[in-house]
């Protein structure tokens, strides 16, 4: 039975290894648990699962294996009941009397059978009422309702604290998201950009130099100190805001906050669609407090690394023609400005929040990409890592 369980866990792509499985058997041998299944569940989880993201999947496998429950479900439902049906919309409050009034339907077997039947009959989401599968009703199937012998589907906690096994509660559901861009991940990726340099007060012992100087000093000790290492990388971040960028606000926010935490020398400016003669630092005062792009270029030297973030989705005129901007009359075209930027900052990349497979359908993305010399990367963790590598390489 145990090897079968192990096999199923691997099938559910939880990375369990033989060592861990043997550890579990050893723990059982040493009588870490008494004979309760709940304790066994906790033990198995602590031994076999090493990441909270896999808790939910583990709960499902455990439930199916040790209850023979999900196999019955599986045949009928296929995978799972669509969560959308069961989304928390309303709650039903029943008095104790009401609860007593609701009588149980047949036995467990019968309940399962009827459930399968109902699912087959039912189409769409359902709420309230007393027959269909859904939320807040008194049908035995669904969540947030009450029926003494009910089957609960997709409910986060046990509302009435009845007849629920821990693993069936699946409390770890929201931890099991296949990782997207989180600030943490971005920070780790950005960390690669670090370049350490020694400046400031000499506080660290330089062992190599000490040995060399001592030897030169006829064996008399001569201590040499060097300044501590600091992250000396300088980053210039240009962010596209407004318009089509609204869909990507979250990803950009995350990138921005991660970058701000990671670099001491970070300068950021906003632009709209394309770089022209003016940039701004505060979106609320973008019309009154414009900074001339030329000033920015003069202020920050060529040792800055340039990261442009934008979806580059616009009309081609905005790139190639003077006066093409959607917002104002620009005396010089966007590509002139972008080239001017690239002339100064040889280490530059463009991060694009648009999915990469859509790039080829948007002419303006193609144009910007060409201008950037192909240094455009999608705003995903992978793209960011590639981009950072480019930033380090290019000289």
């Amino acid at each position: 039975m145990m090897t079968e369980f192990f096999r199923k866990l691997r099938q559910a792509s939880i990375p369990v290894t033989l060592t861990e499985f043997l550890t579990l058997l050893e723990a059982l041998n040493q009588r870490v648990t008494t004979h309760s299944i709940e304790e066994f569940y906790y033990l198995a989880r602590a031994t076999l699962v090493k990441d909270e993201r896999h808790y939910d999947r583990f709960d499902q496998v455990f439930g199916s294996h040790f209850q023979g429950l999900e196999t019955r479900f599986g045949e009928v439902v296929g995978a799972t009941v669509p969560l959308e049906w069961l989304r928390k919309l309303a709650e039903l409050t029943l008095s104790e009397d009401d609860k007593a009034l609701i009588e149980a339907l047949g036995g467990w077997e019968k309940l399962m059978e009827t459930f399968a039947q109902r699912l087959a009959e039912q189409e769409g989401r359902h709420q309230g009422g007393n027959k269909w599968v859904g939320t807040a009703g008194t049908s035995p199937f669904g969540a947030y309702g009450y029926n003494p012998e009910g089957i609960r589907i997709g409910q986060d906690t046990s509302r009435h604290r009845r007849a629920v096994k821990v693993w069936d509660r699946r409390e770890f559901r929201n931890l099991d998201d296949t990782v997207e861009l989180g600030t943490r991940n971005i920070k780790v990726a950005l960390r690669r950009l670090r370049r350490f340099a020694r400046e400031g007060a000499a506080q660290e012992l330089d062992l190599d130099d000490t040995i060399r100087s001592t030897a030169r000093n006829a064996g008399y000790l001569e201590l040499k100190m060097v300044p501590e290492r600091h992250n000396a990388v300088k980053v210039l971040l240009f962010l596209d805001v407004g318009g089509s960028m609204d869909d990507h606000v979250r990803a950009c926010e995350e990138l921005f906050s991660a970058a701000r935490g990671e670099f001491k020398h970070l300068e950021y400016f906003y632009f709209h669609n394309m770089i022209y003669e003016g940039l701004w630092k505060d979106n609320r005062r973008r019309y009154t407090e414009k900074i001339e792009t030329l000033t920015v270029l003069r202020t920050f030297g060529a040792d800055y690394k340039l990261i442009l973030v934008g979806d580059a989705t616009m009309s081609p005129y905005e790139i190639t023609y003077p006066g093409g901007s959607v917002e104002h009359f620009n005396p010089e075209a966007g590509d002139v400005w972008l080239n001017r930027l690239l002339d100064i900052y040889s280490r530059a990349i463009w991060l694009n929040p648009q999915p990469q497979n859509r790039w080829s359908y948007v002419p303006s993305i193609q144009m910007v990409r060409e201008l950037m010399g192909d240094r455009m990367y999608p705003l995903t963790l992978e793209g960011l890592e590639q981009g950072i590598r480019t930033l380090q390489r290019a000289r």
């Binding site: 723990a27 906790y42 033990l43 090493k50 012992l205 000790l221």
Partner: protein
């Protein structure tokens, strides 16, 4: 080896699954890796395990500059060099310049100690890999003195992580793992009771309600956790805030002393804005 089971202490409320993970790690002598939101008592767990099982407690706090070798031992070449210049007799015994690390200390302790390796994810990515053999076999070799340090008793090792870096698989395979979930309202009530046994029932329930309400505000940058709740209640008690202040108008008023719960000015703004909006809706 005394084989008592860990059941939480009178200062620390442990859930069933946590107890099981600790007991399994203690029985099999393997490290226990604990993860969870900041402020859910990961570090405290080790102290409490030591206290409950009556074992000595050794803490090794990891920083971004910590090397695995520092946990074993360090060879102080510089002071030996200096002593040789001064003609100190100590210089002939290299053992005088070996500084024991926390792991060495734990391995050679008379009683089986509890060793806390705190915030392992702060260290370099290779750090856990460098400790694999040491944690597995509980022994290591001192190169300078050709000496083998072997654990007298396998120490109970508790490792905490804040998830800043992924830990290598080989390392994970050797540990038990537990994720401290954020406590549900009932457990939370027990936790607060443990810390403030004399707290008035009403103040407690009002405070808990306000606390979980704040936690539920969508989009908070840093959601308050257990340790923040405890701090807040301490303040409430110290300032003698009546339960009424937290009560009823909770939807209209920002709770008193909210600085203990919300640690970020953006969060405070967000919270205020939401309150403002809900107030306008009601009027």
């Amino acid at each position: 080896m005394s084989q008592t089971r860990f059941r939480g202490t009178d200062r620390y409320v442990a859930t069933d699954d946590l107890m099981m993970a600790v007991n399994a790690a203690v029985t099999l002598g393997r490290p226990l890796l604990v993860k969870g939101e900041p402020g859910t008592g990961k570090t405290q767990l080790a102290e409490e395990v030591a206290l409950a099982l009556n074992r000595p407690f050794i803490q090794w706090h990891i920083k971004s500059t910590t090397k695995a070798q520092q946990g074993l031992y360090e060879y102080d070449a510089v002071s030996r060099l200096r002593d040789s210049q001064l003609g100190d007799a100590r210089v002939h015994d290299i053992g005088n310049y070996i500084i024991k690390g926390k792991l060495w200390e734990a391995f050679t302790h008379e009683l089986q100690p509890v060793l806390l390796i705190d915030e392992i994810d702060k260290a370099d990515i290779e750090f856990p890999n460098d400790l694999l053999l040491e944690l597995d076999r509980m022994e290591f070799h001192v190169y300078e003195t050709q000496q083998l340090v072997k654990a007298r008793h396998r120490p109970v090792i508790i490792i905490t992580s804040n998830n800043e870096k992924e830990l290598p698989d080989a390392f994970l395979r050797r540990c038990f793992f537990h994720y401290i979930r954020f406590p549900d309202p009932e457990t939370m009530e027990r936790i607060v009771r443990v810390h403030y046994p004399d707290l008035k029932k009403r103040l407690l329930s009002e405070a808990l309600e306000a606390f979980f309400e704040i936690r539920d505000v969508p989009g908070l940058k840093k959601r308050p956790s257990t340790s923040e709740l405890l701090d807040w209640i301490k303040l409430l008690v110290a300032e003698d805030i009546p339960p009424e202040a937290l009560r009823g108008d909770a939807h209209k008023l920002i709770p008193p002393l909210h600085g203990a719960l919300l640690k970020n000015e953006q969060d405070v703004h967000l919270f205020e804005r939401l309150l403002f909006m809900s107030r306008r809706k009601k009027d």
